[in-house]
Assembly symmetry: C2
Homo-oligomer: 332 residues x 2
């Protein structure tokens, strides 16, 4: 028996359960020569998937209606007619939201769960860690002593960005939405300061207090009013890594913000959109650093793991409420 989650409707605004459809096929999967059967172990849910659910032109193709949704998945090989894979192997890849599926093995990476938990390959040793490392380094171009502000700081990417910032000698300020998250940023991840955007009376003034010398690098996961507040504090030659804009992904009207152009001119500042797939040639270098720092205990991470295939759509929707700490993963 195989369960699959299809995209039933393109969400209007915030996605809802009714945008997803569950289908069940009773027949066992069969494979031909060269194929394998995969059983899903972990499914990654990520804000960027919201973009693929709409039909706007974007950097990755839109999901098709009434077809399975895809994301990062860790799966176990339970049958193999492919010489590169053996029953019992674990793999990571972009796969369908299915309990079981057939694959040719193309695009799959074998992963080893003996030294780190398998789920880490969806987070700190996967796209999440690569995005944090390469976004910060390739666009942020950090220099020791500079000040870094991270929005969505308690999220999967943000919490790693801040830790890498500390390793590189930056003054690191995180912005997140609960006092509990702020405590975690400071105590678990070593951020120098944290700002709770839900209780702050003036985010811009609070940034100024935490960054009296101004902001040199902004790693932006959220967009919207939080990013507006950062603009008032940027230094000459500031670099803003635009990695995501979760605060506006669900808007049904085109969102408005403070005009960035005058700030960019006054400060000779830069804003650049970051998409991990443009930096594939840097993955080995990034993985070397990430796994090294992880082994040395310099990097840590938090996961929010929820249970059960049927919870995948809810876990995805919860991202937009900030219900996750660190990487949001569904265990099947």
């Amino acid at each position: 028996m195989t369960k699959t989650i299809l995209l039933k409707n393109r969400p209007e605004g915030k996605p809802s359960i009714s945008d997803f459809e569950f289908v069940t096929e009773e027949a066992d999967l069969k494979i031909n020569q060269g194929e394998i059967i995969l059983e899903t172990i972990y499914v990654s849910v990520d804000p960027y998937l919201r973009g693929r659910m709409s039909d706007a032109k974007s950097y990755v193709p839109s999901f098709q209606l009434n077809k399975p949704i895809q994301s990062g998945v860790i799966a176990k090989v339970i049958a193999s007619k492919n010489n590169n894979f053996t029953e019992g192997d674990f793999v990571s890849g972009m796969l369908d939201w299915k309990t079981q599926q057939v694959s040719t093995g193309e695009g799959l990476l074998k992963v080893d769960g003996s030294k780190v938990p398998l789920s880490a390959y969806l987070g700190i040793l996967g796209m999440t860690g690569l995005t944090a490392y390469l976004g910060l380094n390739q666009i942020g171009k950090p220099k020791a002593g500079e000040t870094l502000v991270v929005s969505g700081a308690a999220g999967a990417v943000g919490s790693i960005v801040g830790q890498i910032g500390k390793i590189l000698g930056l003054n690191v300020i995180g912005i997140a939405g609960t006092d509990e998250k702020i405590e975690m940023l400071k105590n678990k991840f070593g951020f120098d300061a944290g700002i709770n955007y839900n209780t702050s009376k003036d985010i811009s003034a609070d940034i100024k207090k935490a960054a009296p010398n101004g902001v040199d690098i902004y790693f932006d996961n959220v967009g919207g009013p939080i990013s507006d507040a950062v603009l008032f504090n940027i230094n000459k030659f500031a670099r803003m890594v635009i990695c995501g804009a979760i605060s506006v992904y669900n808007n049904t009207e085109i969102p408005k913000s403070i005009s960035v152009q005058p700030f960019l001119v006054r400060n000779s500042a830069l804003m650049q959109g970051f998409i991990i797939s443009n930096y594939a040639e840097k993955f080995p270098e990034a993985m070397k650093h990430l796994s090294g720092w992880l082994a040395e205990g310099k990097l840590t991470y938090t996961e929010t793991i929820v249970d059960g295939f049927d919870t995948i759509p809810n876990a995805f929707i919860d991202l937009f409420e900030g219900k996750n700490k660190g990487k949001m993963i569904v265990k099947i």
Copy 2:
């Protein structure tokens, strides 16, 4: 007798004549050893001066109240006790809005009016030309065959940017505010297409019509709704040179625009503020190309020259009404 223009009030919104004060000193100027007396010939008025009239933190210090305003000036040496200058020399530099003034010669560049009109050193062979050349090349990084959109296209910088774009093999679209300016862009400056933002019913749709393959480079002099319209048409890896934001310089409230972040993420696009003073080491290379192209007849320029020292404040204010074509200059 010397006339001077002082900054009397920091303008609120659009500058007005009452923000400026004229003072007259009857005494003749006297000089010490090492000094020269300059008689002003041409005064450049530029949108960026609006920024220096406010006391907001910016890349150049604010003008002080009740002190002379400064801008680019061409002057004649009428007395010299400095070995580097002879009576009759012409110089270019950042000088006070005065009919005559004393200088040590520091920061002044001798200019030669025998091959090009002296006023060209305030425009195509001055800051204006350098800004156009270096902004387009250093941030825009043009490749032949790409599409360039220029806003403020009939202005001093914009009209040169478009011509350089054509020299470099780009498809060039200009945005300006009258049909007469659009004709000039196409017939005098060789732009491929022009859009009149005052008569266009849908600027974004008109850009799409003129740039069916999308926009690779945007040279932005204006900000505001015109820049919003361009965003909808940018290509993957687009570069937006933010050179000025004249449409919002006079705003008394912080201007709002469409949120740029989602567009930057979706397209891995870049926006960067351009300030000419950061690129001083590239001036010789830029001047070599600009003067070469001018001599070969590949570059032309338009000036709006108005007469009389007393008209300086009005000429400056007229910039915000788009009354100039090309470089706005006051002849004393």
